[in-house]
C-alpha cells in the first residue's frame, strides 16, 4: 500500500468514529511523508490498538493499524483533550500525486457531513472551501475539478 492509501484508511476510520471534523497534515521531506490525522470522534482503546486483529468494530476488522505498524514502527495513536491523534511516517519517494487521493477524501467527508481540512506543505484545502466553489462534492465533475485545483497548486509550488 502507498502512503496515501494509509491516509485514506485513516480518514475512513475517523468517519466511522463519528468525527465531526478531521484535520490532516502532510509533510514530505527527504523521501519520507509525515502524516498526522486529528479527529474529534470517539476512541475507546482497552489494549494495544496496533496488535493484529485488535478492533472495537467487530469480526474481520483490525487489520489497518497492525499493517501500518509493519510499515512504520514509530506509528502512534493518542488521545488528548477529546481528540484522537494518529501519526505515522512512511517512505514516499517521487511525486506524491496528492490529486489522486485528496479529492476522494473531500468527497467522502462531504457526503458524510464531516468537515475535513488538509494542510499539504504550505497549502490548505478544506471541504467548506471546495463546497463553496464546486457545490456537491460527490458529483463526478466536482471531484475532477478538485483534482485540477490540487494539481495546479502543486505545480505552482
Amino acid at each position: 500500500m502507498e502512503a496515501l492509501d494509509f491516509l485514506y484508511e485513516a480518514v475512513k476510520n475517523s468517519i466511522e468514529a463519528k468525527a465531526d471534523s478531521i484535520c490532516v497534515s502532510l509533510d514530505q521531506a527527504e523521501g519520507r511523508l509525515h502524516v498526522t490525522v486529528v479527529d474529534d470522534g470517539q476512541l475507546s482503546v482497552t489494549s494495544d490498538p496496533f496488535a493484529p486483529g485488535y478492533s472495537t468494530k467487530g469480526k474481520g476488522r483490525g487489520r489497518g493499524l497492525s499493517l501500518l505498524k509493519s510499515f512504520d514502527e514509530g506509528a502512534s495513536l493518542a488521545r488528548e483533550n477529546g481528540k484522537t491523534i494518529l501519526s505515522f511516517c512512511l517512505d514516499a519517494d517521487g511525486p506524491l500525486e496528492a490529486e489522486e487521493t485528496l479529492p476522494l477524501l473531500f468527497s467522502l467527508c462531504w457526503e458524510n457531513g464531516v468537515k475535513l481540512g488538509i494542510t499539504l506543505g504550505n497549502r490548505f484545502f478544506s471541504t467548506e472551501k471546495f463546497a463553496l466553489e464546486f457545490g456537491a462534492l460527490n458529483e463526478g465533475s466536482a471531484i475532477a475539478r478538485m483534482k485540477r485545483e490540487i494539481t495546479s497548486k502543486d505545480n505552482r509550488s
Binding site: T101, E111, N138
Partner: protein, 124 residues
C-alpha cells in the same frame, strides 16, 4: 434597507436557483458507486475512480453522483463498480481497471448499453 430593482431581483433569483440546483443531489439521475474498502484499494479502486471522474469531466457530464462504498463481499472481483441509471436500473461490474472504467462511462452511462462481458452479480 434599500429596495432592490427588478433586474437585481432577477439576478438574485438566478444566483439562488443555481445554488439550490448544486445542493439538490437527490434529483441526480445517475449514480456510480465504487467499492473502496481495503480490498478494493489494494486492487486499484483509486485508479478506477479517478478514471471514472476524469471521463465524466472529459465528456462534460453533469449530475453524475460518484459515491465511495466499503467492501461488498466480492473481494475477488475488486475493483467493483455499480451504476444506477433510470433506463438500465442497477448494474454491477467487476475487475474494473482504468480502461474499463472509461468504457463504462462512454458505453453504459452515455450510450445506455450494458457491458455484458464484465457484468457481475453482487449476491453473496
Amino acid at each position: 434597507m434599500a429596495k432592490l430593482s427588478l433586474e437585481e431581483l432577477r439576478a438574485l433569483r438566478k444566483k439562488e436557483s443555481q445554488r439550490i440546483e448544486k445542493r439538490d443531489i437527490h434529483g441526480r439521475d445517475i449514480h456510480v458507486v465504487v467499492g473502496m474498502g481495503t480490498c478494493g484499494i489494494q486492487a486499484g479502486a483509486k485508479v478506477t475512480l479517478n478514471s471514472i471522474v476524469d471521463e465524466i469531466e472529459a465528456k462534460g457530464l453533469k449530475n453524475v453522483i460518484v459515491t465511495q462504498a466499503g467492501c461488498q463481499g466480492k473481494c475477488d472481483q475488486e475493483p467493483v463498480v455499480e451504476v444506477y441509471t433510470p433506463q438500465l436500473g442497477a448494474v454491477a461490474y467487476g475487475k474494473v481497471d482504468a480502461k474499463l472504467a472509461k468504457q463504462i462511462v462512454d458505453e453504459h452511462i452515455i450510450a445506455g448499453k450494458v457491458l455484458s462481458d464484465h457484468k457481475i452479480s453482487l449476491e453473496v
